[in-house]
Amino acid sequence: MSYRYEIRLSGSGGQGLILIGKILAEAAAIYDGLNATQSQSYGPEARGGASRSEVIISDEDINYPKAEDLDILLALTQEACDKYVKDLKPGGILLIDSQMVKKLPKENFKIISLPIIQYATERLGKFMVANIISLGIITTISNLVSGDAIKHAIKARVPKGTEGINIKAYHTGKEMAEKWLKEHPEN
Amino acid sequence: MDYLNYLRKDKMPHIWCDGCGHGIVLKSILRTVDKLGWDKNEIALISGIGCSSRTPGYVDFNTLHTTHGRALSFATGIKISKPKMHTIVVSGDGDATAIGGNHFIHAARRNMDINLIIFNNNIYGMTGGQCSPTTPTGKFASTSQFGNPDSPFDISRLAEAAGASFVARSTAYHFAKTDKYIEMAFRKKGFCVVEVLSPCPTAYGRRNKSTGKVGHEMLKDQKENSVPIERARKMKPEELKDKYITGVFIDRDVPDYFEHYNEVKKRAKLK
């Protein structure tokens, strides 16, 4: 049975959402032999402002390269959550930062609320790796790409010298997701 | 020397009017090419639009007659992709500093290795005598029938301020000086500008009798009212009113575009 999996990564400019979109797409397409597209929409701001990056992963050709019916929405700001939650399909996954997104929508989907940014700053000492933590969570929950593929893709994309902390951030996200899955056995 | 070695004889007669200074400037260019012994196959002469810009049609080089004001951008592409080509642009005051003003200051800023000869006749001659960026304030043109309200550009000072490595001004009357400045420009790397004041009796002289009505009167005006830059530097602004400051404005040894870009290539190859 063929599948098409749609992921939107949203928040504000400068959070590195386009980068993790590219990493996720490369993990799927280059290392796991699937098809993937990555696209983004953006405003005039280089920092701040709304930012979104989309990844489609499929085992077939991908025609329309934008998301229509989201399987996963990552929202790192309240604004992004409010704006994009309507595109999440019933039963889809809403992953939010527990500090940034307090007002939760009430619909038929799973909400995973985790202290992503807090862990980035407190446990890893680097606000900037919140994106890679998110990536660890998403790939663990969705099981879309292999762990090896995502680690290779991270190392190939992040700035030289930051591979260590980014792999650590990936593992942090993976552990957060595994803990969440254990606490929510129905998933 | 035989000018006919460099001219396309079958394209004569040229379109320039009796008394026009452009032919005098063209002969200075040809004398200099001959003196330097440049191979005609390795010379590109490029122009925009206007009376001066008809020059390429008359000379036996690789010749390119481009769009209005854009000659320097075409020349930039030629020079970058074939650096051994001697790249000469001829332009008028309107072509170089009105519609082509942006290309002019940026070619100077980059110090692109191009020789620009500006035939400045203070008017749009070909289109019937409209005022140009070098028409002095108060002078008459078909679009300034009550006197030009605008202030003129000083082309040479503009080129100097924008970064050209060599800038000089001469007049059609002072052809020997023109030869000298063009030779200095041709021998020098970087963006080199020679501005030559060229009388336009048809479109300018007839309307502005103070500089003479016909060609020889306008040449006489150039002779009598030119002030060498060394002397002009010691004169007061009011003494310089209606005078033509001539001479070498700047002659500096600074890296041209290619010196910088060759470094870029070296750094790129190390990566």
């Binding site: 590219k22 797409a25 490369e26 280059i30 290392y31 796991d32 098809n35 993937a36 597209t37 990555q38 696209s39 983004q40 929409s41 953006y42 405003g43 005039p44 025609n63 329309y64 390269p65 934008k66 229509e68 090896d148 593929a149 290779h152 | 005609k40 196959n41 390795e42 590109a44 490029i46 390429p56 049609g57 036996d60 010749t63 390119l64 007659h65 481009t66 769009t67 854009r70 320097l72 951008s73 075409f74 020349a75 930039t76 592409g77 030629i78 020079k79 970058i80 992709s81 074939k82 051994k84 080509m85 942006n102 290309h103 940026h106 870009y261 870029v264 290539k265 790129a268 190859k269 990566k271």
Partner: protein, 380 residues
């Protein structure tokens, strides 16, 4: 995880245009920053210097167009890239390249217009501008990529066409394709066909740079090769010098027209999907062709007889290819991110014999498969 194939890359459409240009032999780029095309310039600035090529950021769009013409005239394949506002500015010198018959490639990554419009949003508003943007009757070849792979291969083809026909060629991309990252398999350079301009066989004394040959395409000498000829934007005769002789004017302008007109079959490129048994034909190009294909496949699964004609070249207009498909169909659907610029041509080509449903979106959002599907199944 599988072992990655080094030839397979995830690449952005704009980057693929730049890589395609380099593969085609382009060694000069002149441009001016403009969203959403800047990645093309950035990639060229990164790649060309190490290849002994040259990149220059010009002072404006007009200058960039002039510089690529100059560079091509000395024999170096040259590229510029822009978006709507810059494309408007380039028109003057695109006209020069057309009449002076200088091979150059211009990539226009379309964004919303008119004027400054929507810098970060997609549109297809420059369809007519890419045909008639510069003044006067002039030839036009316009290619429309709808994938990253097509960005790469169509840019190569654009260079080949420009060299073969001595004419400016436009790659009309859009913000969706330009900024889309997807898989591409990069071919070995020996697998890429490269066409170079025809060089003169005659000696310089007898060279006619604008000779009216049987193919309508005269041989081109590069500046510096000893031919010392004249190039002008004025209408000229076969020698290259300006003429006011009405017979010669007609001869040259007709040749300019014919060199494209008589070669339609070689230039035009379309892709047909499920066109054998259809009653509904979708005609689409660029990013919209992908949405059209997805909606067609869904409708097909549900038993609707839908076909798709994807236009890989939009100019010259594929009139013959469209008319051929119109024998047994009930309707044509033309989705476009403009108010129906190409639909108008299709109406003309089909003489309005078949109902044409236009679907037009001009709000900066892409046309989705659902948008087209709703029309296919007659749902409002």
């Amino acid at each position: 995880m599988s072992q990655p194939n080094p030839k397979i890359k995830m690449m952005q459409g704009n980057v693929a245009c730049a890589e395609g240009a380099i593969a085609a032999g382009c060694r000069f780029f002149a441009g001016y920053p403009i969203t959403p095309s800047s990645e093309i310039a950035e990639t060229m600035s990164l790649k060309l210097p190490a290849l002994d090529g040259n990149f220059i950021q010009m002072e404006d769009e007009i200058g960039a167009m002039g510089a690529v013409i100059g560079s091509s005239l000395v024999g170096v394949k040259s590229l510029t890239a822009t978006s709507g506002p810059g494309f408007s500015l380039k028109q003057e010198n695109i006209g020069f390249a057309a009449i002076a018959e200088i091979p150059v490639v211009i990539i226009n990554v379309q964004r919303g217009g008119p004027s400054t419009g929507l810098p970060t949003k997609p549109a297809q508003g420059d369809v007519m501008q890419s045909r008639w943007g510069t003044h006067g009757d002039h030839p036009a070849i316009v290619l429309c990529p709808s994938s990253v792979e097509e960005c790469y291969f169509m840019t190569i083809r654009a260079f080949n066409l420009s060299e073969e026909y001595r004419t400016p060629v436009i790659v009309l991309s859009d913000e969706i394709i330009g900024h889309l990252t997807e898989k591409i398999t990069i071919p070995h350079h020996s697998d890429i066909d490269i066409i170079n301009r025809l060089k003169p066989q005659s000696d310089p004394e007898n060279y006619l740079p604008y000779e009216n040959t049987e193919t309508y395409i005269p041989a081109m000498a590069n500046f510096g090769e000893g031919y010392r000829y004249h190039v002008t934007g004025l209408v000229h005769d076969e020698t290259g010098f300006p003429t006011n002789d009405s017979k010669k004017i007609e001869e040259q302008l007709t040749r300019l027209y014919n060199k494209i007109e008589k070669n339609h079959d070689k230039i035009i490129d379309v892709s047909e999907y499920f066109c054998d048994d259809m009653d509904t034909l979708i005609i689409a190009y660029g990013a919209v062709a992908r949405s059209a294909k997805q909606s067609m496949l869904k409708a097909r699964q549900e038993g609707h007889k839908v076909g798709l004609l994807k236009l890989n070249t939009i100019w010259p207009f594929p009139e013959k290819q469209i008319v051929k498909l119109c024998q047994n169909i009930k309707r044509i659907i033309v989705p476009e991110m403009n108010f129906g610029q190409l639909a108008h041509e299709i109406e003309w080509a089909t003489r309005r014999a078949i109902p044409i449903i236009k679907y037009n979106k001009i709000n900066g959002e892409p046309i989705t498969p659902l948008d087209i599907y709703n029309i296919l199944i007659n749902r409002k």
